[in-house]
């Protein structure tokens, strides 16, 4: 019994390391490569690896969203944007980025330092696991009848928040239409004149 648990933990660690190595390699490649088409493809691969990591962390719903939005639709939208632009090569910066590098290093160090205060992954004593979560896990089936607790929380307990999120998506759509969608008709009229 204990042996099989250690083997599972070992495999989990191996998968974690593999995915993180791929993730870092993709990130470095994105920084180095100047061809925007390649970068968009790499962004998709990056999202797919993050989705894999979410699956390893048992967050299937988040992984699903990441794979569908990050790897799927945002790549298509970025490609569509790229098709509208003329330059497909990113220009090399003319100066050395010393000050930005310093800012990034300090911020990164502060963030890493901050992670020491975060409870370790899956810690049963952390505030997030103690406060509302037990209530959701114990009562959600009885109260909502939905076996997927995530859906029960999103759609029922936190229905207001989800309504807000949908309005945000709608607003994004309206924003894009106002910026580039509406001009189409007037431009065609101008063409006719």
């Amino acid at each position: 019994m204990t042996k099989s648990i250690t083997v599972t933990a070992l495999i989990d660690t191996l998968i974690d390391i593999t995915l993180l190595v791929f993730l870092t390699t993709t990130a470095i490649a994105i920084i180095k490569i100047r061809n925007l088409f390649v970068i968009i493809m790499l962004f998709g691969i990056f999202s797919l690896h993050s989705a894999g990591l979410f699956v390893v962390m048992d967050a299937a719903d988040v992984a699903f969203t990441e794979a569908a939005v990050g790897a799927g639709i945002s790549s298509v939208l970025m490609l569509a944007t790229l098709a509208l632009t003329k330059d497909h090569e990113e220009k090399k910066p003319s100066h050395h980025a010393r000050i930005p590098l310093l800012v990034v290093l300090i911020t990164g160090a502060a963030l890493v330092y901050g992670t020491y205060d975060i409870p370790s992954f899956g810690d049963p004593l952390s505030p997030a696991q103690q406060h509302l979560k037990p209530r959701y896990i114990e009562r959600s089936i009885e109260e909502t009848g939905a076996p997927n607790v995530v859906t029960a929380v999103l759609a029922s307990y936190r229905g207001y928040d989800t309504l807000g999120e949908v309005v945000v998506i709608f607003t994004a759509g309206v924003g894009v239409m106002l910026l580039i969608g509406g001009r189409l008709k007037s431009r065609r009229k101008e063409d006719k004149q």
Partner: protein
């Protein structure tokens, strides 16, 4: 990509599968991973996939851009409307327990209805954004 035979054949086979999977994700969200948002994105991707191979004109004949604007707002109306209905039935805003005499049944109905609303809005907005970008590139 209109003249690529392999792509055209594969899209014709894959489109129904992707669309069906979107509906599965929508209605199975209560039992497994997924829900309205993911279903909406997958449905949007299925149609964008079709548009990439068969061209924007063909897709616009099936789903005109005007309909997308109506659909995007319909989804939110369904969601918020559910809340108003529960208020009219004597509960709080989005209190699904009011939708049926049985509490769990009311929750089931409420969750499915709002997920459908979310799915409609998300897929319509995704397509709207894609149309907006893709039609700008047209001469």
């Amino acid at each position: 990509m209109k003249h690529n035979l392999i792509l055209r054949v594969i899209v014709k086979y894959l489109f129904p599968v992707i669309a069906l999977f979107a509906f599965y994700v929508l209605f199975h969200g209560e039992y497994g991973p997924g829900g309205g948002f993911q279903a909406g994105v997958i449905m949007g991707v299925a149609i964008i996939f079709y548009a990439l191979v068969f061209g924007l004109e063909t897709t616009e004949q099936v789903i005109p851009p005007q309909i997308l604007r109506i659909l995007a707002s319909t989804g939110i109306l369904i969601y918020a409307g559910t809340g108003v209905v529960t208020m009219l039935m004597g509960g709080n805003f989005l209190d699904y327990n009011m939708l049926s005499l049985n509490q769990v049944e009311g929750q089931h109905i409420g969750i499915i209805v709002i997920e459908v609303g979310v799915g409609i809005t998300v897929s319509a907005v995704m397509l709207m954004i894609f149309y907006a970008f893709a039609s700008k590139g047209r001469p």
